[in-house]
């Protein structure tokens, strides 16, 4: 279930990005991760997410254009993991 994966990702993101002031319930899986109105992550955070995908899911993000689509929201990350782990 993708919802289970989203919940797992929320915990990993809070831990890895040290978002100590947030709970998984507060993280909207549809919200943009970057920019105004979103979670306000920065360029260091995106590098941390790249490492997270490689370390925890064995997925390497190669192209920055691809990365923009994958890292749009927590749901798009989960969808990418689900699609590529089946391969």
């Amino acid at each position: 279930m993708i919802e289970d994966l989203i919940n797992k990702l929320k915990g990993e993101i809070i831990r890895e990005l040290e978002m100590e002031n947030m709970t998984p319930e507060e993280l909207d899986p549809e919200a943009p991760l970057f920019g105004e109105g979103g979670l306000g992550l920065d360029s260091i955070d995106v590098l941390e997410l790249v490492v997270l995908l490689e370390q925890n899911y064995g997925l390497k993000i190669q192209a920055s254009k691809e990365g923009r689509e994958i890292f749009y929201s927590i749901r798009t990350i989960a969808e990418y993991i689900r699609a590529h782990q089946k391969e």
């Binding site: 040290e18 002031n21 590098l47």
Partner: protein, 228 residues
């Protein structure tokens, strides 16, 4: 050699207009204890100070302890002052010292790259493997764009600060400067941060304590909590 045409004043009186200390679970502002905590670890204490001063800056939680300490010290120091409005951003400097540089995160980074089979260096750890990042965190928060530097010294060196900052003022590179000592390694932490301004540019308010002249002896006495 100085000439009559030299535009730089050879002598200007610089004052310490406000100072803050964080040490041993206490926060002092201008020599008066403002906050006391019994929390043991540096990280727990910094988070409690953050909450006590009702700070709203989520990025704080991602900082290493050195930056948390520098950030909080600047936050408490600048609150209620008008220095950010009074001086152009390019004229506000930040000159700091410490002993351990960024050693705690240097070691953390080293651990993450030591094993070639589990080689996952963390970008958010790596970014703190330089002590100047504490200056950057203060500068970003308060939009300060003036001269800045971090000096590594075994002990707090008031002479270096007095000479370096005085020279910045004399050469008109700054009109205001945050300066002092921000040291943190594991649970040992100590900060002493102060604002330096030119006497001629300060309007003394009624009821405000006497400001302290910037010189080596006074800086050392304030650092040690001794009366001037």
């Amino acid at each position: 050699m100085r000439t009559q045409a030299d535009p730089f004043p050879s002598k200007m009186e610089l004052l310490i207009t406000r100072y803050v200390k964080l040490q041993d679970g206490r926060v002092w502002l201008n020599g008066i204890v403002e906050y006391v905590s019994e929390l043991g670890s540096a990280n727990e204490l910094f988070r409690s100070v953050y909450r006590h001063y009702r700070t709203d800056y989520p990025k704080f939680f991602k900082m290493d302890n050195l930056c948390k300490l520098a950030f909080l010290s600047a936050e408490i120091l600048l609150r209620g002052t008008d220095v950010l409005q009074k001086y152009p951003a390019e004229q506000i400097g930040i000159i700091l010292e410490n002993a351990s540089s960024s050693l705690e995160y240097d070691q953390k980074h080293l651990e993450s790259v030591r094993d070639r089979d589990k080689y996952f260096p963390s970008p958010s750890v790596f970014v703190y493997t330089i002590p100047n990042i504490m200056v950057a965190e203060i500068a970003i928060r308060h939009q300060m764009k003036g001269e800045n530097a971090v000096f590594i010294s075994e002990q707090f060196d008031p002479e270096l600060i007095d000479h370096y900052v005085s020279e910045l003022f004399r050469n008109q590179r700054v009109s205001c400067c945050l300066s002092g000592w921000v040291e943190c390694y594991r649970d040992h932490y100590q900060s002493f941060l102060f604002i330096i301004e030119e006497k001629d540019k300060i309007k003394r308010c009624k009821g405000v304590q006497e400001y302290v002249t910037l010189n080596i002896l006074n800086v050392e006495r304030l650092f040690k909590g001794k009366p001037i």
